[in-house]
Symmetry: C2
Subunit: 125 residues, 2 copies
């Protein structure tokens, strides 16, 4: 087995790991409508070993930010804060932090969204 | 009719206008699960005449930003740009601008989203 083949095998071992499959390969390939095999190939071709090695922890450390951004959009906070000015930036930020903590603890995202709407209602009523 | 009653009537006339109902009252009250009547009352109590008068144009000028933020989250661009580094910030920005222009021209958001996914695929393949 030459070096290139070995490298490919190492990379594949990372990509086939449970956390890579669960957190990155399966959700993103599904989202793009391609097979997980094809998505693995794309990552294999574009990323080197050191990127692959560090990437899952980059992913993990950015989850809170991803959730906060998603909550911002899904709760339409921009409307209540920037357009209607019914909620302050601080209130919105506290709300997102509070919900993100629950979601990171495993709470269902859609349930958290519903709770977020109720909290918005309490703030503006 | 005293001044307070007059003011209330003026405000109600703005809130009942077609563009206010279509763009703000109906979508947001539905989102929050309350009647449009209740949402009108909330806005009536919280906003004065000058806010109400200027607010729809604030809304209109912020639509491009709202669409771009929603595309960012719905296309999961953060993943491809910041985590996997398969797409550059410039490519992602061009993609969002291109799709936003179509959406602002009346193109269906979900169709634009599907096109966006195809464009992402072309970039990373």
């Amino acid at each position: 087995m030459d070096n290139e083949e070995k490298m490919k095998l190492y990379k594949l071992r990372i990509l086939r790991s449970f956390r890579w499959q669960k957190d990155i390969i399966i959700p993103l390939s599904k989202e793009l409508g391609i097979s997980s095999q094809e998505f693995e190939d794309i990552l294999m071709n574009h990323l080197d070993m050191s990127s692959l090695n560090s990437l899952h922890s980059t992913y993990e450390s950015s989850i809170p930010e991803v959730i906060m951004n998603k909550l911002e959009v899904d709760l339409k906070l921009f409307w209540y804060v920037d357009i209607l000015e019914l909620i302050s930036k601080e209130e919105a930020s506290d709300l997102k932090v509070q919900l993100s903590i629950k979601i990171l603890d495993g709470y269902d995202y859609n349930k958290a969204l519903e709770e977020g709407k109720q909290l918005i209602l309490e703030m503006i009523r």
